[in-house]
């Protein structure tokens, strides 16, 4: 049987292809970055709005991709788009009148999940996304470092400090 080996294209090559209109290349970019982007969004918006903001982020990234000067900077760039979109979404949510909550299109998470997420969202910025990548997506420290571009030591510090603050918050502490 012939073994067909596929080599994943480099990130900058995928970006170049996506700029030229290759949607399959953009899907690969999405696959590489979606966990970090999901964590960045979940750190800032209500759980039921995260998927909408994900969609908004990647549509925006697709449309603005020709403006990206350094293809290799795509992960940080799309994360920045995600954080801005999430921040704007969160501000808009506070300003809108609290109408009846839209019907959930996904199963409602348990109370424990919602409380844990709320506690994480009240933590300092530095810890939220790293903790969500670990606790929601089950990534290891080295995987988080590679995905986010953080130094492994920074990831370790963020995980440990963030977890201590989260425990204090869930135990009825300061946060």
């Amino acid at each position: 049987m012939t073994r067909i080996e596929t080599v994943e294209p480099r990130l900058d090559e995928l970006v170049r292809r996506a700029v030229e209109g290759d949607r399959a290349a953009f899907e690969r970019l999405y696959a590489r970055t979606r966990l970090a982007v999901h964590a960045a969004i979940l750190a800032r918006v209500a759980w039921r709005e995260a998927n909408d903001v994900m969609q908004e982020t990647y549509v925006s990234a697709w449309l603005k991709l020709p403006e990206l000067r350094e293809p290799a900077a795509f992960p940080g760039w799309v994360l920045a788009i995600a954080r801005r979109a999430a921040g704007a979404h969160a501000r808009g949510h506070r300003e809108r009148a609290e109408a009846a909550a839209p019907p959930a299109i996904a199963p409602v998470p348990t109370l424990e999940a919602r409380e844990a997420l709320a506690a994480i969202q009240r933590l300092p910025d530095a810890y939220r996304e790293t903790l969500l990548l670990r606790l929601v997506h089950g990534l290891s420290g080295p995987e988080i470092a590679e995905l986010t571009g953080l130094a492994p030591e920074s990831v370790r510090v963020n995980l440990c400090r963030g977890m201590k603050l989260l425990r204090a918050a869930l135990d009825g502490g300061d946060a």
């Binding site: 990206l68 290891s140 440990c160 400090r161």
Partner: protein
């Protein structure tokens, strides 16, 4: 902390780092709960919209006014807060003549060619060099000694300088930008996947960065400013003294071995930097003149009298300053600083534990780190909460 506590901590850290390690019940329970939030939607790329033809980018320059105002305010601050010539005069807050080591306006101190990191970065030439793009807001900067036009590239190792009539905005890769005020000199030291690093030899700037923490760094003669995701103003006088003021997020000031821990400056706070002594004690920007004077004297020489003078100006809403004071106060006065912190809830648990208290009085690093972690939610709280805490 008991041995069992230490083991539990080690097990938690191990499992946090490696999900294949033996699970700790508490973290496993959180994973099970939060795992319900896991599904990140799939992307159907066929439904992506068609791109329109590119339009001309319109940039707003909201930071020019901020940079100019920050430069004026920070310059005035540096001039008004020169270190006192006589130690006793600082404690008694007597008026005094200007410090004899004040820099002369006629003959500015030599511009340091080395940065805080004391390394030399070879200048890169050629179109393929890593570089930051810049655009003049007014006037024309010089790049590597040559007058440049309205826009250009600052290559790795290159210097960009503004005179009294020029101001520039510099793109920091795709993670933010730096507005460089008139009278400034800046160098690009590093730009790659690991870090983006500048050196501010003198002048002032406003930085706005949206990136993971520690990706963006600015070296000054006295300290390294490490971005933790934020916006801030930074100024360095010709003699190397500086001031950092944070307007969003937080910045860490790393002074190498001169302090047990880096200084943390959150939103709404500021910190002076001395080229020889490194960062001083951070203080909320709303602090009184009396507090600032007392802390400036303490930072110059942290002895018992100056510690007491600083403590006399601090209250329960000054935990940021008190925690940093504790880290460098003389051993004989640490108890006094800790007693001022003890009534504040996060410290009470530590201060009431005899072993933890002894460790804090001894300046043990791990316990100082724990004390900081206990207070950080206060310092990083939302703007609404910050009014409650400080």
């Amino acid at each position: 902390m008991t041995r069992e506590d230490e083991k539990d901590d080690a097990d938690r850290e191990r499992y946090l780092w490696d999900p294949r390690a033996e699970a700790t019940p508490e973290i496993a329970r959180l994973e099970a709960a939060l795992g319900e939030l896991r599904p990140a939607p799939e992307l159907d790329a066929s439904k992506l919209p068609t791109r329109s033809p590119p339009r001309a980018r319109r940039r707003l320059w909201p930071w020019l006014g901020v940079a100019a105002a920050a430069a004026a305010a920070i310059t005035a601050w540096v001039a008004a807060n020169r270190p006192p010539a006589s130690p006793d005069a600082a404690v008694a807050r007597a008026s005094e003549a200007p410090a004899s080591d004040a820099p002369s306006a006629a003959t500015p101190a030599p511009i340091p060619s080395a940065t805080f990191a004391s390394e030399e970065v070879p200048a890169c030439r050629g179109a393929d060099c890593p570089a930051f793009e810049w655009r003049a807001l007014r006037g024309a900067p010089t790049v590597d000694g040559k007058v440049a036009g309205a826009r250009g590239r600052l290559p790795l190792g290159g210097w960009i300088e503004t005179d009294a009539s020029a101001a520039v905005t510099l793109d920091v890769a795709d993670i933010g930008h730096v507005e460089i005020a008139p009278g400034s000199r800046l160098r690009l030291l590093q730009t790659d996947g690991a870090q983006h690093r500048l050196a501010l030899a003198h002048g002032s700037l406003s930085a706005k960065v949206d990136a993971p923490p520690r990706l963006f760094v600015i070296d000054t003669p006295g300290a390294r400013a490490v971005d933790l995701g934020c916006a801030y103003d930074l100024a360095v006088a010709p003699d190397g003294r500086g001031l950092l003021r944070v307007t969003a997020g937080a910045v860490e000031l790393d002074a190498g071995v001169r302090r047990p821990l880096p200084v943390v400056v959150p939103r709404g706070a500021e910190c002076a930097i001395d080229p020889a002594r490194g960062p001083g004690t951070p203080v909320w920007s709303r602090a009184s003149v009396a507090t600032r004077e007392a802390l400036a004297a303490f930072d110059q020489s942290p002895d018992e009298a100056r510690t007491d003078a600083a403590l006399a100006t601090l209250g329960e809403r000054d935990s940021l300053t008190l925690v940093h004071l504790l880290e460098v106060a003389p051993a004989s006065r640490r108890g006094a600083v800790l007693d001022r912190l003890a009534p504040l809830e996060p410290a009470a648990r530590l201060a009431s534990d005899p072993k933890a208290r002894a460790a804090l009085l001894a300046g043990e690093r791990a316990t100082l780190v724990a004390l900081r972690a206990a207070f950080e939610p206060r310092w990083y709280a939302s703007p609404e909460n910050q009014k409650r805490w400080h």
